[in-house]
Amino acid sequence: MKKSLFQALLLILIFAGIFYGLSQVNWMKLFRVEKVTDALEKQLGDMVWSDMDKKSIESGPEYKKLDSVLNAICKGNGLNRDEIKLHLMEDAEVNAFALPDHHMVVYTGLIKEAKSNDEIAGVLAHEIAHMELKHVMKKLVKQIGYSILISITTGDAGGEVIKEVLGILTSSAYDRSLEKDADLKAVEYLKNAKLDVKAFADFLYRLGEENEGAVPLTWISTHPDPKERAKYILKEGQVTRD
């Protein structure tokens, strides 16, 4: 019996040892997974963006406001501002989303709904977090599939697939845990940039209350419960709501 127990333990140790040894190999680098995904993301970003039928507003007070908030977040967190392609679009919908290759789209409806720059900063920080944590490609790979994404870039897939990609990124939330990760990362960005975390929570809370109104609050309705999000954002930011 003792011998069998010793052998069982040894077998487990052999398995664990092989697993540990193989874990030390950088398979992702060996199989060039990250390099291929980065190249794919760049191509997809350009294709999806060029497929959007709305015109981007590149100047005016609303764009300047958005740009200054984005600059503040990037500066406070050592992020490369030039990497983020900011697009403001004329649309009453309260929405903002990230596309592959750091394209960030914000609708004018969201700017109008926000009462302060700090409220906008919360949304931008959340979208930057999705980009930096590579959530955009993770979501696309899971929902569309790696091979179909590659076939888009090689021209083998039709325009319908690009529209599907766009639909997924503009009007559906990420996995619940990814949304929470993005919220918590956003809090970190806001704190580093010395921006008001409470304003972000307040904005979510207010949008949650207004969700039944005439203007579609896509950014809220597609995401997890805004009040619950506001709670953990305040907790992470260690501030209290009035």
Partner: protein, 143 residues
């Protein structure tokens, strides 16, 4: 793994049945490669069917079942991890995942080779006792 003397000399029919205990897990590989439970189920069903058989047959069916069971445990982890990688947005391909799958693959190939070898030897009338599984079978399977 070593060849040992059995307590009696089994007849031709026993040798065939005992060898089939190992073959069952191999047949199931073809059907249930992505589903780790199939191999175990096939071996378990064969074990049940022969639980009142002679000592030699029961002994080898038990050894085959025990080896399949431990393989089932590590394969199940790999199976659910793979499903998570495929369908969950918060789980992605990583170095530990590839390392685990490679480890499981090594163990499966090793077990497959041993199973084929033991099935052939058992059919020839040689009593093969595996390292760890043999002594464990001795503890479970009584004459």
């Amino acid at each position: 793994m070593k060849e040992q003397n059995f307590s009696y000399v089994p007849d031709e029919q026993e040798l065939e049945k005992a060898s089939n205990g190992y073959i069952m897990s191999l047949v199931a590989v073809v059907v249930g490669l992505p589903l780790p439970v199939i191999n175990l189920l096939a071996t378990f069903v064969f074990f049940l069917a022969n639980r009142r058989s002679t000592y030699f047959v029961r002994w080898h069916c038990t050894q085959a079942l025990l080896s399949q069971f431990s393989l089932f445990l590590v394969n199940t982890v790999g199976f659910w991890w793979t499903l998570s990688v495929l369908f969950r947005e918060d789980v992605e391909i990583s170095n530990p995942y590839i390392a685990y799958i490679a480890t499981v693959l090594c163990f499966n190939i090793g077990e497959l080779v041993l199973t084929i070898y033991t099935a052939i030897k058992t059919r020839k009338g040689e009593h093969i006792s595996w390292w760890f599984y043999g002594p464990l079978t001795n503890l479970i399977c009584k004459s």
